[in-house]
């Protein structure tokens, strides 16, 4: 065993501990250091390999990469974390795709297994590159967020994938013939785009996690092609992490993978239009503030609307104020709230809400019936009782936060528009529900002002 092989082994060890320490907030930062150290060992180990002769372009590349990465990491606002993740997935996958391409064009014979591994690496690499760029565009709102659907879309997409797979097999069987290879790359990129055009905003958490998995598997295939165990291990860790997160996300919506990728949830959006207006009770900030300060227990339920309105800091002020007055305030976090797994937790943590106040769905639902006020900020489908009561509803069976069990329900909302699934929400019309119409940030700000001024 030479020195670099030993360093690779140590790197794999530190990657595994990085994930292990990620399990709890108290050890998570140690996990990041472990991951960084592992990566350092891997890079140093590679640089000292005797195959590496020419350092000039490597050093320039590393410096340029660090120069781009550093400002991204330090200046990116926390609300843009889903976009950053998407663009970063795209970078990683692109690197892997390019390496595969260069390996493929290297002269000389190679075993069929290596070519097959390269084909997998290149397919997943280019597919993830374009898919992540599309996801970035949708999250950044450069591209329309609504799903784009057309006739025979699934057959068309699968057809593209099948042709690509056919070319891949042909390339493995005919090592000397690289003619179709550019077509292979084009099809992989096209499939990545086609995969995302039909994905709507609320499915983003699942899709981002799935793309994470693909980029890991692409590194893994590179490991097989280069006979490098460290790449296989790191790629497999990443691949399984992405997969398990997307399974958790699917489960939280009671949908299958196939349904997320091929279902076209957003098509239902038209069905809700044109229903007759039903009466709702609305309340002013003064009334709402009065009820909140008389409550003993308050559960705040954030959704993507909170992120859009940037209301998290005002909500933390509300939390502080109510807590000071002896009200027990907690946050109920639905697994798919927001645009990526754990999105709400990061935003609230940024606003200095202590993490023991962020409660998972299973744990808070049992307390919901004993809660005085459920305050819903920018969430809709994840509190829609239709998921439990109406078997015909598109979201039937989806686990929800049982906000309707609270004694009073308050919903901050801009207007009466339906949520992502395009279905009406019974919760709005219940007798104990108060609609608080307005922008989330300014409404919470006026709540804070009311509560603060009344009792000081």
């Amino acid at each position: 065993m030479t020195l670099y092989q030993f360093l690779y082994l140590a790197a794999a060890f530190f990657f595994i501990f990085a994930l292990k320490w990620m399990s709890h907030p108290s050890t998570a930062r140690r996990g990041v250091f472990s991951g960084e150290f592992g990566m350092l060992l891997a890079v140093v180990g590679t640089l000292i390999r005797h195959e590496v002769i020419d350092y000039q372009w490597i050093v320039i590349g590393l410096v340029v990469g660090a120069a781009i990465g550093l400002p991204i990491a330090l200046l990116m606002p926390m609300t843009a974390v889903p976009q950053r993740t998407a663009i970063s997935l795209s970078c990683g996958a692109f690197a892997s795709a390019l390496i595969g391409t260069a390996e493929y064009y290297k002269p000389g014979a190679r075993p069929a297994f290596t070519t097959a591994a390269l084909m997998v690496e290149i397919l997943l690499g280019f597919l993830t590159t374009t898919a992540s760029l599309m996801a970035f565009g949708k999250l950044q709102e450069i591209l329309p967020g609504r799903p784009i659907v057309f006739k025979f879309q699934n057959y068309f997409n699968l057809g593209v994938l099948a042709v690509a797979a056919g070319i891949g097999v042909y390339n493995v069987m005919n090592p000397g013939d690289a003619q179709l290879f550019p077509v292979y790359i084009a099809l992989a990129m096209a499939f990545g785009i086609l995969l995302i055009v039909r994905i709507g905003g609320a499915d983003m958490p699942t899709v981002i996690a799935l793309l994470n998995s693909y980029s890991g598997l692409s590194s893994c295939a590179m490991g097989f092609a280069l006979d490098n165990k460290l790449l296989i291990i790191a790629g497999a860790l990443d691949g399984s992490s992405g997969l398990i997160l997307s399974i958790i996300m699917c489960r939280a919506m009671n949908r299958s993978f196939a349904n997320v990728l091929f279902g076209g949830f957003g098509q239902l959006q038209t069905s809700a239009v044109g229903q007759e207006a039903r009466p709702v009770r609305s309340a002013s900030p003064e009334e709402a503030a009065g009820i909140l300060s008389d409550a003993r227990t308050v559960v705040i339920i954030p959704g993507y609307g909170m992120a859009v309105a940037q209301a998290q800091h005002k909500i933390r002020e509300l939390h502080d104020l109510l807590t000071k007055r002896g009200v027990e305030v907690r946050f109920a976090i639905h697994p798919v709230a927001g645009r990526m797994p754990g999105h709400m937790n990061v935003l609230l943590a940024e606003a200095d809400v202590p993490y023991d106040k962020l409660i998972e769905m299973e744990d808070i639902n049992s307390d919901m019936a004993m809660t005085d006020v459920a305050l819903i900020v920018g969430a809709n489908d994840i509190v829609n009782p239709a998921a439990q009561n109406d078997p015909g509803s598109p979201i039937a069976g989806m686990p929800i936060l049982d906000a309707y069990k609270a004694r009073t329900v308050m919903i901050i909302k801009r207007g009466m528009s339906a949520g992502f699934a395009g279905i009406d929400n019974e919760l709005y019309y219940m007798d104990k529900t108060l609609m608080l119409f307005g922008d989330a940030k300014s409404f919470v700000a006026s709540l804070v002002k009311e509560i603060g001024s009344n009792h000081d």
Binding site: F15, A18, M22, S23, H24, P25, S26, A28, V32, G35, G38, M39, A42, V43, T46, E51, V52, G61, L62, G65, A66, I68, G69, L70, I72, L74, M76, S88, G92, F94, L98, I99, T101, A102, K106, A209, S215, S218, S219, C220, G223, I232, I233, A234, G235, L237, D238, S241, G242, L245, I333, P341, G342, N345, V346, A349, V353, Y355, L358, E360
Partner: protein, 97 residues
């Protein structure tokens, strides 16, 4: 090359990944994703081997160089932003800024 051995490594690592990730609190899913994403920038290893090889073709050098840049962008930004996120998670009772 021993493919069979590679598949054993893959299977065990994937299984270990599943077991470890299942234990991660949903609280930390966003930092977890950005860290596994940074770990996937291990492809920088392949990029270095490609770029630095003796007598590499121009194509290899160019593609390898772009790959080094994009993998190391991912590496640096991924780890740093993960740490930045984790710093924000305040322990209960920890004084606020």
């Amino acid at each position: 090359m021993n493919y069979e051995f590679g598949f054993y490594v893959f299977m065990l690592a994937a299984f270990l990944g599943f077991e470890l990730i299942r234990k991660v609190s949903p609280l930390l899913h966003t930092p977890l994703m950005s860290m596994t994403n940074a770990i996937a920038s291990i492809s920088v290893v392949g990029a270095i081997l490609l770029t630095g090889a003796e007598g590499a073709s121009t194509l290899s050098r160019v593609l390898g160089f772009i790959a080094v840049v994009s993998a190391s962008t991912n590496l640096v930004s991924g780890y740093l932003i993960t740490d930045r996120m984790l710093k924000m998670f305040k322990k209960p009772g920890q004084p606020k800024k």
